[in-house]
Amino acid sequence: MSATPTPADEIAIRMAGINKWYGGYHALRDVNLEVRRGERIVICGPSGSGKSTLIRAINQLEAVQEGQIVVDGIELTAGGHNVDEVRRDVGMVFQQFNLFPHLTILQNCVLAPMKVRGTPRAEAEATARRYLERVRIPEQADKYPAQLSGGQQQRVAIARALCMNPRIMLFDEPTSALDPEMVKEVLDTMIDLAGEGMTMICVTHEMGFARAVADRVIFMDQGQIIEEAAPDTFFDAPRHERTRAFLQQIH
């Protein structure tokens, strides 16, 4: 852990001693991670190294068998209803967008605020339109997801998460399913968000993005955090052999 302890109220996420098994498969091994408020973290690593499992543990899409997870001062205990509180505060963007195909873009954006927070429709819609404006697709509000390009859908997914007014955003390979020409528009949206001080954890192999916005890059392999460093150090002087091998592969 770091030499100068961070005051508790400045910690957005604290994971300590996390172990997770899928059946007999040990997917996360003694993972410790502390994320400060406003910090932007990029996680990378080979396929199957446990990156998704790690960030999905933060909002309990995956339960872990061992360890402590505290999000925004709320400790997650298995089966407790503080999970609901955490999910309200943590937005997530997926590789496959996961927009609700039977709802319009606007309906996608207002669903959770209305059902979870009890926001009146008019207010929820006004907020949704504001965020759609911010991700630069206000004119698509009444279309269905299938009518939008992949890049547009992913920006809607970001807007939809923001409509819940989260304090933390999780991204799981948000550009991996996109055609190359659409990657930039999504990354630009994420860079904007980073500029506004959002706490962000992004699983991504977009090294340009990592250099531009990350405070810290974390490398995972075989369920462990192998190395973490500021992006310049990480990319230019990786300490670990496995990190070097991985970076060589993706360049």
């Binding site: 997926f94 996961n98 609700f100 195909p101 669903l111 059902k115 997914a157």
Partner: protein, 218 residues
């Protein structure tokens, strides 16, 4: 006295269609409620619920409908209730439809991509809202065609209720046949009425299936 098979017999048979329709409607409505419960139990997190629902489905899919009717009919007698073909047939067909619709709808719920549930969960939606706003509307679209297909089976299945003395289309045919001894004409007429009930539904199911296939490949 044997009388010839005539127009009045055809009208008599035609009038019995309403009892076939009434029994089908009761079984379908009851089966829709039961089937939804079974489908939700089958896809629940709690293992005991899943197992219970699975046993219910296996039981009703693994025994002939006629035996289910018999058991409901004679079971009432054992319980000391007055023998009542209406009640017995409604009960047996409702349970039967619950099992089959439960299995169809379980499949439809599971056909909704898991990312939908994950996205809804990540947004903070709890089970009820997740189901009603995200999963079930999508599952419903997938299930329309097989559901209508099952309704056709159910309508035809009500003919077995004639055996426990429920006077619907088939039993009316038997009664007319006893008076006219023209079995080919009588049951030909009965079959034609079933066909008229079921054929449009089959057509509709097929049309919805192609429309759904087109909508999902768009």
């Amino acid at each position: 006295m044997i009388r010839p098979f005539g127009l009045s017999d055809i009208l008599l048979i035609a009038e019995a269609i309403r009892w076939t329709l009434a029994l089908s409607a009761i079984a379908f409505a009851g089966g829709a409620i039961g089937g939804l419960a079974i489908a939700l139990a089958r896809t629940a997190d709690a293992r005991w619920l899943r197992t219970l629902a699975m046993l219910f489905i296996r039981l009703f899919q693994g025994t002939p409908l006629l035996m289910q009717l018999f058991l409901a009919f004679f079971g009432m007698n054992i319980l000391g209730l007055a023998i009542n073909p209406w009640l017995a047939a409604s009960l047996a067909l409702t349970l039967h439809a619950s099992a089959f619709l439960g299995e169809i709808w379980r499949g439809s719920i599971e056909a909704v991509p898991s990312g939908q549930r994950e996205a809804a969960t990540a947004l903070g939606l709890r089970y009820y809202d997740r189901m009603t706003s995200v999963i079930l509307p999508q599952a419903a679209r997938i299930s329309v065609a097989p559901t209508v297909g099952f309704l056709v089976q159910l309508i035809k299945g009500t003919s077995l209720a004639s055996i426990i003395g429920f006077t619907e289309l088939t039993r009316t045919g038997q009664i007319v046949n006893n008076a006219t001894f023209a079995p080919f004409a009588v049951f030909g007429t009965v079959a034609a009425f079933y066909f008229l009930l079921c054929w449009p539904l089959s057509l509709m199911a097929r049309r919805m299936e192609t429309r759904f296939a087109r909508a999902t490949t768009r």
